[in-house]
């Protein structure tokens, strides 16, 4: 355990990520509406030592009731439409929706038309679009930082 922690400290030291300048936070809830699992794997690594989105006050929360932002990945399938809407309805106001990845944006989707509803914006109002197939953890992190700066400026 001690070696593990020492190894981790070394990784963190070598990466020497800059300290964030701000003290704001956004609670994120993820919903997979019909992805290929690529966006999930990249979103997971956004929490890894190489990016560490928690530094900027972004935390993945377990319930939509605790969330400010709904991160939606994948094209919306017919079977995920209702669960996605239920998660959105459970969120407190103000709530934001971020469409993560090309499928969520309706770009280059491979699917049978009868099995999908369409892009996220066909179901929910989208506040931020993060393109990429899949977007890298760096792209996701940068887009979320910019978004949180913008929403904070709007709130003032």
């Amino acid at each position: 355990m001690l070696t593990l922690l020492r190894n981790l400290r070394r990784v963190r030291r070598e990466l020497s990520l800059p300290a964030p300048e701000r003290g704001r936070s956004l609670a994120l809830r993820h919903v997979d509406a019909g992805s290929c699992n690529g966006c999930e794997h990249e979103l997971t690594l956004a929490s890894s030592p190489y990016y560490d989105i928690q530094r900027y006050g972004f935390g993945i929360v377990a319930s939509p009731r605790h969330a400010d932002v709904l991160l939606v990945t994948g094209t919306v399938t017919t079977r995920m439409r209702e669960p996605l809407l239920a998660a959105y309805r459970a969120m407190p106001e103000p709530r934001r929706v971020v469409a993560v990845g090309d499928c969520a944006l309706g770009r280059g989707v491979l699917a049978l038309d009868s099995e999908i509803v369409g892009p996220v914006e066909a179901v929910l109002p989208v506040d931020l679009r993060i393109p990429g197939c899949p977007p890298s953890p760096a792209t996701i992190t940068n887009a979320l930082i910019e978004f949180s700066d913008r929403t904070a400026a709007e709130a003032l």
Partner: protein, 461 residues
Amino acid sequence: MSDPYRTRVTDALDAGCRFAGLYASAGGTVVRAAFVAPDGSIRLETAPVEAGRVPTIVDLAPAAGWDEREAADLYAIGFDGHEPLRPLVVHDLDLARWTVAVRGDDAYQIAVGPIHAGVIESGHFRFHVVGDRILQVDTRLFYKHRGLERAAEGRSLEDGLAYAMRACAACAVSNSVSYAHACEEALGLRPPPELARSRTILLELERTWSHLNDIAAICAGVGLAAGNTFFAALTERARRLNEMLTGHRFLFGSVQVGGSRLALDASNVAAACDEIAAISADSRSGWRDLLFNASFQDRLPGIGTVEAEDARSLGAVGPAARASGIDEDARSSSGRLAYDGFSPVAPHRVAGDAQARLEQRAIELLQSFELLAELLDRPLEPVAAERGDGERSVGIARVESPRGATLCAVEHGGGRIERLHLRTGSYANWPVVAHAAAGNLLPDFPLINKSFELCYACADR
């Protein structure tokens, strides 16, 4: 029961073949069952669907359960003798239709999903429990069903690759290579050694990041944050290596039908070997720490145990099967790939539990590092497949993905896809997860699930 199809299936099983997949074809007028022989060759048995019905083989090969349910849902085929034939892909039915009735004092149900608490794919689990003890799990997947197989119909064989690849990012290479092999078999093409080497490198790169990810996930399942973040950092390095070599972190677009466009010059392969050696050294060090972490190790033995006999009859594949003592790995008999002399490894304790599945990943990782060092000993040039034996209308191939053997069948007419079927390692193993969970404590389910770490996307397609 003298049905010729069932007789042929019985013969195949008696000859030592294992069930490898079943799908409906020709618009639901036939059902084809695939069996893999001990030498890795694939035997296909076809049964005509008469008046919408065909005999079941689920009593002969229990692993065919999900396949028959899928064919019933998507092609309206009845399987005589498969009772009750529960829905799998169709969701708008009463609970009683798709769950197993569990009755008794204090027995109740807990519904989990399709949306889960972390960054996890969508799928629904219905636990029948008494207190914290799981009696039975009904798994309902296919929330992410995108109809990829049917959407690919009518496309050219080249264009069809994207449908197999995009079924799942975590298995993109395995799915692509199995698709390319199936097409090449149908077209009468053979991969020359350099094409085999190119694809084997890609498959092992995929296994590397995937197994690192799985170890991180099992640490998360136990709640060991230090182990999780350490192996997550190694996963990130492996994905950066993928990007350096192929321009994509998940190796998308690196496999083609009928050849390979991947070129790696001397400096690429040297840099890759250095990075693989560095990741290997760190991963060994991290693994040692996990071995000596008593509180971590105490959480793993006896959790989600799958006995060898059950693993075999349920059709378990991949690291999960090998951790239960099934000495099978499609890499041992992959004539189209560069796995000469490969033999599968086994953990110290072949116990079929979470600990054995974790160790299986760790030792397979070492094997992948060694394979990559050997395969990346020289530059790689683009290469085309060679003309081999005659063309066929059905091509079928099996490739070992990080989660187990993936079967791909391609049926074509004049170079256009008439049927594409992808049966991934995850698809084969999902029923095994439900079996492994029964009898365990409910709070152990996340750990059991992560010790398999299956994809939902490539089961749902």
